[in-house]
Amino acid sequence: MKRFCSLLFLLLTVCWANGAAAAEIEISAPGEQAIPLALTRFLPQTGAPAPAVAEELNAALAADLDLAGLFRFLDPQAFLSDAGRIGLFSTEVDFDQWRLLGAEVLIKGVYSVQGEQLTVEARLFDVPNGRLLTGRRFVGRTQDVRRIAHAFADLILKDLTGEAGPFDARLAFISNRSGHKELWLMDVDGHNPIRLTDHRSIVLNPDFSSTGKELLFTSYRAGNPDLYRKEIFSGGEARIAAYSGLNIAGRYAPDNSAVAATLSRDGDPEIYLLGRDGALRKRLTTSFGIDVDPSWSPDGRQLAFVSSRLGSPQIFIIDLASGAARRLTANGKYDATPAWSPKGDRIAFTRQEGGRFDIYSIRPDGSDERRLTFGPGNLEHPRWSPDGRFLVYSSDAGGKKLLMVMRADGTGARKVTAPGGDASHPAWSPVW
């Protein structure tokens, strides 16, 4: 009987221990969905102050960090005396001042201009814990000031999220600024545009290789839409696919080993696998309808593409190994230009509804379709930033075609192209 009693006791205590509600708090959402950031003005370290340089540094950095969406910028008007002091080490910063303002992260930095050379030291501090998070010294020329700001923005994202930002990169796009549709390259924020081609014909649909050193595009230069490959730094250019009919929408495989493109050499626009030199490897689609616009999955095993095999253009996914294709989107009447995110978790595309294109995204299994934009104008050609955080796309709201960038969830949309000509067909390079 004693044994039973002790067993009973044990069981009861277990029950009690389970049931007795230990004091517990649940906090199911942060009080604020953005990190309060104090971005101080960069200060001259040695030599004469160059307000224009500091201005440009701060503006480029602020624009990048604003697009990132992580931060709430504290009003610089409220900054106290520490904002005017150089502080490159945590011991030199008066964190209490920043705690008072509610800042959680603090950016401080100095610059010095010596002739053509620009040196920038930038720091990111954790205010509540009073410690240095990251910092770097950049040396360049005075005209590299925006690049330095972009590189630091990338570094900040790297430190805070574990993944670097995509700002020190380039956008390739098509512009008719010179009178013809040519291939152009510019910074991610629309600065420093340069023209890469002079075909004086029609150039379309660029795509970066994953090294970022090569571009693939379509040009009518030789009187037919042919596929060209261009090395950005050497300027070397070669026509790689000039089969009869269309040679369009070329896309590098994620490992650069192959190219997927639409050819109509067999009389019907179909998707083919080509070598990097344009050599024909395999025909991937065989439907009677139009098959265009391939986009690789990041593992290189599948392709999303547009097909009219069911009448209107819809997005399908083909498995390269088995050749089996399945329909991805089921809701739209006209879906086009799929772009598989570099993380692989979503596919962005455009859908025409009511005579207008908007950008949507969907999981590769066809679930969780989301509409990201709500006009105005036609919003087309979505392409991902190399980190999958942002989408660049073209818009024709207001008559002119221009490029826009937004976060992958559709927020924070903003223009990126400087005025002058129409810009379309963007592609975001890997980090430079």
Binding site: R141, H199, L204, A238
Partner: protein, 184 residues
């Protein structure tokens, strides 16, 4: 030879960029002296758009006039039009094509490029494909009427060359077309 200094500056710029990156990568040690490379002008800063008629490409041949100017519209050949997002030939198009076939039969030496075009609604690449299907449809019908296939070539411009640069129903219906151009 305006090409060589360009590529030289480009190479220098690349070298410089690499050096800059190397400098960025080392946080503790002083940054690599950029003096190792002569101060080359940045590629972005010096690009003069108006004074660069020659492509920086490897195959930088003198630029020929564009393909559009190559082909002249043929007086006896009438363009045909298509319904939205379709490449089927309606009765009007068939009648026009039959007249075109008569003209082509009378001029057996003439070679013709059939251009397929679309209106500006729709995705660019899809429209390139659609334009080609339109041109091919026209070609096939002409071939069925006895015109030799070798005389007919096909090219699609998608929505790149609208007949009427406007966004309304009238312009769209005019832009959805196949044109017949003489090949020299």
């Amino acid at each position: 030879m305006p090409k060589q200094p360009r590529s030289l500056t480009l190479i220098l710029a690349v070298l410089f960029a690499l050096l800059l990156l190397a400098g960025c990568a080392s946080k503790t040690k002083p940054a690599t002296e950029p003096a190792a490379t002569p101060p080359a002008p940045a590629p972005m800063a010096t690009t003069d758009l108006t004074q660069q008629p020659v492509a920086r490409g490897v195959e930088s041949q003198p630029v020929q006039s564009g393909p559009v100017a190559d082909h002249q519209a043929v007086a006896g050949l009438t363009r045909i039009h298509f319904p939205y997002n379709q490449f089927t030939l309606d009765d009007t198009a068939r009648v026009t094509l039959e007249q075109n076939a008569v003209y082509l039969r009378n001029k057996p030496a003439e070679k013709v490029a059939i251009e397929g075009h679309c209106d500006d609604r729709g995705s660019d690449e899809y429209n390139l494909a659609l334009g080609e299907r339109r041109a091919v449809a026209a070609k096939n019908y002409l071939v069925s009427l006895g015109i030799a296939a070798e005389r007919l070539s096909v090219i699609s411009y998608g929505e790149e060359q609208p007949l009427v640069a406007a966004s309304n129903e009238e312009a769209w219906s005019k832009n959805r077309r196949a044109e017949f151009k003489a090949v020299r």
